[in-house]
């Protein structure tokens, strides 16, 4: 069943499996999701990002694998020879519908890509659980292991005030789906700074600095690599946040220009997002073989001088 494919200098075995009755051959080590993508199949994903090891936390990408009692997260499960996968059964569709509803009823997904389309596709109605509870200021003070017992009159959610504690970026955890990507980007997988972690337990889990101190008191070095990986708009340039607030953010009018960071000899790739001849934010191509979308504070936020034109 397995033959050898030569990719560059590496020899990787290939694996043959069946997805929705079609046979497909991919390299060993690929995930079910990537196999599906090579076949042109779309599987919804929310917590998955291409530069971070999958945490498979959202469970929207679940598929059926023959022989498995429960559904399997396609974003992280590696293909195996002879695997038989189904991507659109009653069970997978039900799970996707409910996951979209559970998240949609507890988190502000307004800036999360594709959600509106998937809600239609899977028939999700996040409002059917009931009336949303009012935003609270207390999520950072939750007691682990005990909560005020719900009376069912409203639907709990994570809505809360935006955290604005520095000039460069804001944290709007009402939009956070707890994909863990920012924590992994800040810590072990990229930045090695560990300014933020996951705190609390259960529905009270949250992304937090130690004791919820302001970022300015934390270890944060403002590399913005967490913003780069955040799939929901929970982490956002202050410039973008202010423009959205003012109603002047017009993504469709923006141009994106790739360039090289001028500050040091590393030469990271930058993508400048420009609206009305002003740089409104900076990202970096996540498929760049050296930097994988990561920058430092200078490349990420040091663009003001470009705009200091003589009046």
């Amino acid at each position: 069943m397995s033959t050898q494919v030569t990719t560059g200098l590496q020899v990787r075995r290939s694996v043959q499996l069946t997805i929705d009755d079609q046979s497909v051959t991919v390299a060993e080590g690929e995930t079910i999701l990537s196999a599906c993508r090579t076949m042109g199949k779309e599987i919804p994903t929310l917590c998955y990002g291409d530069t971070i090891t999958p945490k498979n936390a959202c469970r929207v990408c679940m598929v059926e694998v023959e022989g498995s009692r429960v559904l399997v997260p396609s974003c992280s499960r590696k293909v195996e020879p002879g695997m038989v996968v189904r991507t659109d059964t009653e069970r997978t569709d039900h799970s996707r519908k409910l996951v979209l509803e559970l998240l949609g009823s507890s988190v502000d997904l307004s800036l999360t890509k594709n959600v509106a389309r998937w809600n239609t596709e899977y028939g999700s109605e996040p409002t059917r659980f009931g009336k949303p509870a009012a935003p609270t200021n207390h999520r950072d003070e939750a007691t682990t292991g005990h909560h005020h017992v719900a009376d069912g009159s409203s639907v709990s959610n994570v809505l809360q005030p935006v955290k604005i504690d520095n000039e460069l970026y804001i944290r709007d955890y009402s939009k956070c789906i707890m994909c863990y990507q920012c924590v992994d980007a800040c810590g072990e997988q990229w930045q090695n700074t560990f300014a933020i972690g996951v705190a609390g337990r259960g529905f009270d889990i949250r992304i937090s600095t130690e004791f919820n101190v302001d970022l300015t008191d934390s270890a944060c070095v403002y590399c913005g690599n967490c913003i780069q990986v955040c799939p929901t708009g929970a982490l956002m340039f202050t410039s973008e946040h202010n423009m959205r607030d003012a109603g002047t953010w017009k993504e469709e009018e923006q141009t994106q220009t790739d360039t090289i960071c001028p500050y040091c000899g590393v030469g990271c790739a930058l993508t400048l997002h420009v609206q009305d001849n002003e740089i409104v934010k900076v990202s970096s191509p996540s498929d760049h073989s050296v930097t994988h979308g990561n920058l430092c504070i200078k490349g990420r936020f040091g663009f003001q001088h470009v705009q200091n034109r003589a009046e």
């Binding site: 429960v70 996951v99 998240l103 507890s106 059917r128 700074t193 130690e210 270890a219």
Partner: protein
């Protein structure tokens, strides 16, 4: 990593507590004294990071000493272990026995869980000032139960059960409970049926703190026999016995042992899962309190058979007497050459230690234990890879429940075939049941597989005076309810499975007519909401929605809410990462479908 700590400084007590686990810091960057050479060089990094598994014991030390975990102490631990404060905060805030806000030295944890509230215990909204609500304290046979913790040097921990509201108020005001009831009170069979008991055979007969008593009653005979049989011989006997895990998942023990033994990667680790937190479960506690050497001996045998040189007993933090007795058994066994280097001259080396849990049901999930031991948040890991291949510290790991392990002693001594001759075709051997609720003599009962629910209740003296049976919870909050018409159900794995329930961890909780079933369901829903680790959406949000819907149903039944619960149950079962989310709807579902709790 450049460690950045803010200006909060640990007090002398906090530093002392941390140092009691980690030793005094040797250099400035670790919070020690500053010398001139520190301006140029710092030795830390890799070596310190290898101490990450010391984080949980260190947090315990601080919490024990001052009652909570302050910013200053987190900063000091951060320096000592080279872990970022945000990470430590994430770990500390994961556990219910820790607090990251200041609180009194005295903590009174009042059980508000299923058995206790069924037996007249307080509900969360009835607790006196100065007490905290607690999930099941694993003392259900003496419900209602309270755990008192007094921070200090040393901290004191004591259980009071049963506890009246007056006593609870007194505890909150500073009273200290009398010594706990003896372990035998949890094993009523000892008085009438003692000669037929094997798993419970020594309880009440030996002093649980005395190794010579243990040896006079057959202690370490199984270990000697195991060493004669050799590792493969032991695994053969365990395979022949048909023993399956008693922790809830009923996996074949012999197969697991064989798989660990055969792993090429080394070292191998052995973990005893003694986190017993499934509401209604207390059998492991009774063994550890009453016959702790048996667990130590069984761990040595398991590790000998599977090639582990280091073992951990992950023991629930709410079990003070079990911790004391097992620690004593480890110390005594080490002193007498049963632990340590070259055990009984066999050339086999084995070190065993307790890792104390800190209040998290999820840490009983076998991969969550790994993260907890390693000093991370107790979140379950992805499977595959499975623990037998990639477990704690990334190495092949054996995880077994306390009762599973203790069964191995008689299997080794009397042979696997003799064990397999007991029980039924699908459920071999002996089983401990945790009988609680409205029976005359609640406690742990040891039986051969095959007896019915009715026979077990009769063994427990029948229903309590004045009680009529309303419902029975089998397998705990993750199990399911059955009704009075199911009394002839054989308590075997196959029969309970066929009846749409499960034996789980051996919970048989008998609820009489006085129990408000809707209240029980609300508590089950609240339990899962509290205990979900929060990692995956179906469980993190699903358990919240489930609680909201059950509360709504309590006020008035709507068909669409019943349907919503069913849909929720399906996604939790199908798409959750671990067994917690996968079973969080099962008891509620059985109450609705079998007992018709919300029938219109």
């Amino acid at each position: 990593m450049d460690l950045k700590v803010n200006s909060s400084v640990a007090t002398r007590d906090e530093r002392d507590a941390v140092d009691s686990v980690l030793g005094k810091p040797t250099q400035y960057t670790q919070g020690g004294q500053r010398f001139e050479q520190d301006l140029r060089v710092s030795r830390a990094g890799e070596a310190l990071r290898n101490l990450r598994h010391m984080l949980l014991p260190t947090l315990h030390a601080v919490n024990d000493r001052i009652g909570w975990i302050s910013r200053g102490s987190i900063n000091y631990i951060a320096q000592q272990l080279d872990i970022a404060p945000a990470e430590i905060y994430g770990v500390a805030s994961f556990y219910a026995l820790f607090s990251t806000t200041e609180r009194t030295m005295r903590q009174v944890h009042v059980c508000i869980d299923l058995a206790c509230r069924a037996m007249g215990g307080l509900r969360e909204d009835q607790l006196p000032e100065g007490t905290h609500p607690s999930p099941c304290l694993g003392t259900c046979e003496r419900a209602p139960a309270v755990l008192v913790i007094e921070a200090g040097n040393p901290a004191r921990h004591e259980v009071l059960a049963p506890a009246t509201p007056v006593q609870i108020t007194a505890l909150a005001k500073g009273a200290w409970p009398d010594a706990e009831a003896t372990v035998v009170s949890a094993t009523p069979q000892v008085a009438t049926d003692s000669k037929n008991l094997v798993l419970l055979g020594r309880i009440g007969k030996v002093d649980p703190l005395s190794i010579s008593d243990y040896q006079e009653h057959g202690g370490f005979d199984a270990l000697r026999k195991a060493m004669q049989l050799g590792a493969t011989g032991v695994i053969d006997e365990v395979n022949a016995s048909g023993l399956v895990g008693r922790g809830g998942a009923a996996f074949q023990t012999g197969r697991k042992w064989g798989a660990v033994a055969g792993q090429p990667a080394f070292p191998h680790y052995a973990i005893c899962n003694a986190d017993e937190s499934e509401p209604g479960t207390f059998k492991d506690r009774v063994i550890m309190e009453g016959d702790p050497f048996a667990l130590v001996e069984a761990m040595i045998i398991a590790s000998f058979a599977t090639g582990c040189e280091q073992g951990f007993i992950y023991l629930r933090g709410e079990y003070p007497r079990a911790i004391r007795n097992v620690q004593n058994a480890i110390d005594e066994s080490t002193k007498h050459g049963f632990l340590g280097a070259n055990i009984l001259g066999s050339g086999f080396n084995f070190a065993l230690s307790i890792v104390r849990g800190a209040g998290a049901y999820i840490c009983g999930e076998e991969t969550a234990i790994f993260n907890s031991i390693e000093g991370y948040r107790g979140e379950p890991r992805n499977k595959p890879p499975f623990p037998v291949e990639v477990g704690v510290f990334g190495k092949p790991t054996l995880v077994n429940n306390v009762e599973t392990l203790v069964n191995v002693l008689s299997i080794v001594k009397d042979g696997g075939a003799a064990y397999a001759a007991l029980g039924t075709e699908g459920s071999k051997g002996r089983k401990l049941f945790c009988l609680s609720g409205a029976v005359a003599k609640p406690g742990v009962y040891e039986v051969e597989f095959g007896i019915t629910l009715r026979q077990l209740i009769e063994l427990g003296g029948g229903m309590r005076n004045g009680s009529t049976l309303q419902a029975i919870l089998l397998g705990g909050a993750a199990g399911g309810f059955v009704g009075p018409s199911d009394l002839d159900l054989p308590l075997t794995m196959e029969a309970t499975r066929a009846a749409g329930s499960s034996l789980g961890s051996g919970v048989v909780m008998v609820l009489d007519q006085s129990v408000d079933m809707v209240d029980q369901l609300r508590r089950i829903a609240a339990f899962f909401r509290d205990e979900s680790c929060g990692q995956c959406v179906p469980c993190r949000v699903g358990t919240v929605r489930q609680e909201e819907i059950v509360s709504r149903l309590a006020k008035g039944v709507q068909a669409q809410d019943i349907e919503l619960l069913r849909e929720l149950g399906t996604v939790m079962r199908d798409a959750s990462i671990c067994g917690l989310g996968q079973t969080a709807n099962s008891a509620i579902d059985s109450a609705i479908n079998k007992l018709k709790v919300f029938a219109q």
